[in-house]
Amino acid sequence: MDIKDIKALVKIITDSDISEFEMENEIERIHIRRGAEKEYVQVSAPTLTAAAPLPAAAPAAAPATAPAEAVDDGCETITSPIVGTFYRKSSPEADPYVEVGSTVEAGQTVCLVEAMKLFNEIEADYKCKIVEILKDDASPVEYGEPLFKVKRL
């Protein structure tokens, strides 16, 4: 690899967010590690959590990641489309809409979220099985907050 190639390579790497690069073939071996940039990012990260290690901070961050609904174990989540109070039953006497293990059809109501005295029925977008119920009955939920962990059927 001549100097021109190296220059090009360095540019490619520094323009990217790559922190380390290694390449080897029968004739040569190259190893590049970056410091500053990476280090700098780390600098700011602690700053913020340091700013306020609030219980709120965690849930607050959730919606940001919510769009990517897929969870590693192949499960997905049903999230709340509004801020409000999560209810598992249509009335105190009624049975819960779903239990862990229930299979629900697309469009079937899985819970209510009450906002300003209005009870909004939350429906499943697709046929799935309820793997986990993530919120307690009658607990507050924020926009985009995961309510159920489900497996698509």
């Binding site: 709120a56 801020v83 906002a115 926009y143």
Partner: protein
């Protein structure tokens, strides 16, 4: 006192309100959009709750989500800050109907002052001078010509539902009137869904002078002196100062008393601002009343020592004013520079990631900002990233202090208007206080 307040805003004003609450021992709830999960107001509040997507209409303007957030967090009151829902009479009403205290004036006051015509009528009754012209909608060009001839050119056409320059047209001659009248109505319809316009005398090279009002729910109203906000670009204030450098004590007294009377006339409570035009001959004319706390409130806090946000909260809780007019003493001079993430010459917004942040410090320097190193300034919201406020014994010293503070201020990674403010602090006319609302246009910056 309230035990918990929800702040229905973001950025520096949300932080400003949270700080006041912390100092009053009140718990705070921040609401935020998905894009603001890492915003400082979200981090610093005792609780924070996501209310919707990045666009304001789906979050910070979403009344239902905000009220619901207040209910699930058991907040007792909502502070709207400025902008967003701060001057929305319906929101104030909804809050009260839901048993939440709206930290601001009555929905009624907001409604009256939100309507230019009703506003002018009410202050006129209180004996406050307004620019000669119609108070009511001018339906036709013929009518417009008649009025213009009567009050004399130049005149200005304004949207009755308007604000912020939209639907405003200056007319210098009868010939130009028909076209501009039509344009104004079109702009008014486009911007406010209401084509109604009115016509008034156009006052040339006026200063923008406004009076800060504080009123309680027991009929007491005082003023905290005036601010001069003549440094504007396209009707957007960029630099504000207090007191106004050209007011005589007699004129100041007259102006401020006028403002207090107008506020009393409509039974106004909470913080509010009466905006006036001051012409070269020291005539002042009422423009409009802002029924909220303003971006530039800190300059008044610096010279009076009154914490306007805390007073708003106490007033909303029903406490009588803690100050009488005689308690308000003006001390020194204060200036505020609004630092925007914009090109310092073209003023085009420049959102992006802050890379290196170091605010100035020392005697007489105040920073109100919600940004931090590595924070990403979002394109969805206002481009103002910091307010730099200085206080000193004299205006001259305040300008020098502002200049040195601007020199120290580091905001890396994005373009900001720091450089613009440095130019103004070095401008001879500004230093001499010889400015008006047309200052920047003439300066060609």
């Amino acid at each position: 006192m309230f035990h918990k307040i929800l702040i229905a805003n973001r950025g520096e004003i949300a932080l400003r309100i949270i700080r006041a609450c912390k100092e009053l021992g009140i718990r705070t709830v921040a609401v935020h959009s998905t894009a603001d999960a890492d915003a400082l107001h979200t981090k610093i509040a005792d609780e924070s709750i996501c209310i919707g997507k990045a666009p304001s209409a789906e979050s910070y303007l979403n009344m239902k989500a905000i009220i619901s957030a207040a209910e699930v967090t058991d907040a007792q009151a909502i502070h709207p800050g400025y902008g967003f829902l701060a001057e929305n009479a319906e929101f104030a009403e909804v809050c009260e109907n839901c048993g939440l205290t709206f930290i601001g004036p009555s929905a009624e006051s907001i409604r009256i002052m939100g309507d230019k015509i009703a506003g002018r009528q009410s202050v006129t009754k209180a004996g406050v001078p307004i620019l000669p012209g119609t108070k009511d909608n001018v339906p036709s060009v013929e009518e417009a010509q008649r009025i213009a001839a009567e009050i004399g050119f130049p005149v200005i056409i304004k949207a009755t539902a308007g604000g912020g320059g939209k639907g405003m047209k200056v007319v210098h001659s009868p010939v130009a009137l028909p076209n501009l009248f039509a344009t104004a109505r079109a702009e008014a319809r486009a911007s406010f869904g209401n084509a109604d316009v009115y016509i008034e005398k156009f006052c040339e090279q006026p200063r923008h002078v406004e009076v800060q009002i504080l009123g309680d729910k027991h009929g007491n109203v005082i003023h905290l002196g005036e601010r001069d906000c003549s440094i504007q670009r396209r009707h957007q204030k960029l630099i504000e100062e207090a007191p106004c450098p050209v007011l005589s004590p007699a004129l100041r007294k007259q102006l401020c008393e006028c403002a207090v009377n107008a506020a009393k006339a409509i039974g106004y409570y909470s913080a509010g601002t009466m905006e006036f035009l001051l012409d070269k001959n020291n005539n002042f004319y009422f423009m409009e009343m802002n029924t909220r706390v303003q971006v530039e409130h800190p300059v008044t806090e610096m010279i009076t020592g009154v914490d306007i946000i805390k007073e708003q909260i106490r007033i909303a809780y029903g406490e009588p004013l803690r100050y009488q007019q005689k308690d308000i003493k003006i001390r020194g001079h204060a200036i505020e520079c609004r630092i925007n993430a914009e090109d310092p010459v073209k003023f085009t917004p420049c959102p992006g990631k802050v890379d290196g942040y170091h605010p100035p410090g020392g005697l007489g320097v105040r920073i109100d900002s919600a940004i931090y190193d590595q924070y990403t300034i979002l394109p969805y919201y206002d481009s103002m990233v910091a307010k730099l406020i200085v206080h000193a014994d004299t205006r001259e010293e305040a300008i020098k202090r502002m200049a040195r503070a601007l020199d120290e201020f580091i905001i890396g990674g994005v373009k900001t208007t720091i450089e613009f403010h440095q130019r103004i602090m070095a401008n001879k006319d500004f230093i001499e206080g010889d400015v008006d609302t047309g200052f920047l246009e003439r300066l060609k910056i």
